[in-house]
């Protein structure tokens, strides 16, 4: 078989070639084909809406994350901090075992009550 075996091909192949092909494009078909391709090529060159909005979406997501971080319980309200400090002090104190709450600061009771109610 040489490299141009389609040259001088058998007659039935000519017949097959003649019948097994689409109708050629006319002027309207060519214009339609080119216009559709041109439109798709232009769309490729143009940044898509998703690409254009991506930086805005990322910025909004970062802002939302920052907002959540600010609201996280890592930095408790002042009263809770104060309460925890006193509780820690009480744990360390010998007076905790005396079952005598009279030694607790008066302010503790007020804050503890407010905390429990909340």
């Amino acid at each position: 078989m040489n490299d141009r075996e389609h040259d001088g091909r058998e007659p039935w192949l000519e017949e097959l070639d003649r019948h097994w092909r689409p109708e050629a494009l006319d002027d309207v078909g060519r214009a339609r084909f080119d216009a559709r391709l041109r439109e798709r090529m232009d769309a490729t060159a143009r940044p898509s809406l998703v690409r254009r909005l991506a930086p805005v979406a990322i910025a909004l997501a970062l802002m939302a994350l920052a907002g959540l971080a600010l609201r996280s319980p890592e930095v408790p309200p002042a009263d809770e901090t104060q309460l925890a400090a006193w509780e820690w002090e009480l744990l360390l104190s010998d007076e905790l075992n005396d079952e005598d709450s009279s030694t607790l600061p008066e302010e503790y009771s007020a804050i503890a009550s407010a905390f429990l109610i909340r």
Binding site: E5, P11, W12, L13, D17, H19, W20, R21, P22
Partner: protein
Amino acid sequence: MSGRVEELGALEAMARPELEGAFEAFVVSHRERARRLAWRLVGGDLGAAEDVAQDAFLRAYRSLGRFRQEATLSTWFYRILVRQAANHRRWRQLRERMGGWGDPEAADPRVAPPGDPALRLRISSAMEELTGRQREVFVLIHLEGFTVRETAALLGRPEGTVKSHLHRALARLRQELADLRDLEGANS
């Protein structure tokens, strides 16, 4: 085919408008052949063939920056097109297995191709009997006029493998379309 397009110099050195102009010239000179080749590879569905041809041009356009001069622009483009057609056939087979493709005779409702519809149907059925690779090789060489070497480069297969596929395809089609030969003989 435009010699200017075929012999494009260093594409990466071209200015964008010049590159786009050269590509548009390439589309104009190859659009009909691309569409016909796609039609033959996807089995006579004109709508699918136009989609495949369009997708191949678009893919080539997007990848122009990656085109290297190892192959001609047309070999590179037709490689893309053959892959697109193969992908389309795979998807169609998958959809057929899932039970939703419909009547193949109704695949192209817009335009009836020229010629005898019954004969075309017989050819179509015979082509469907070929494996995907046999069909590609047969169509490229015997119907579209590519050489064995070009086809091997286009499919990324050794020339011996291409010849083997071609031999089997021809044997199969001779068997399936024997009366087409007789018909031709009777007419001549």
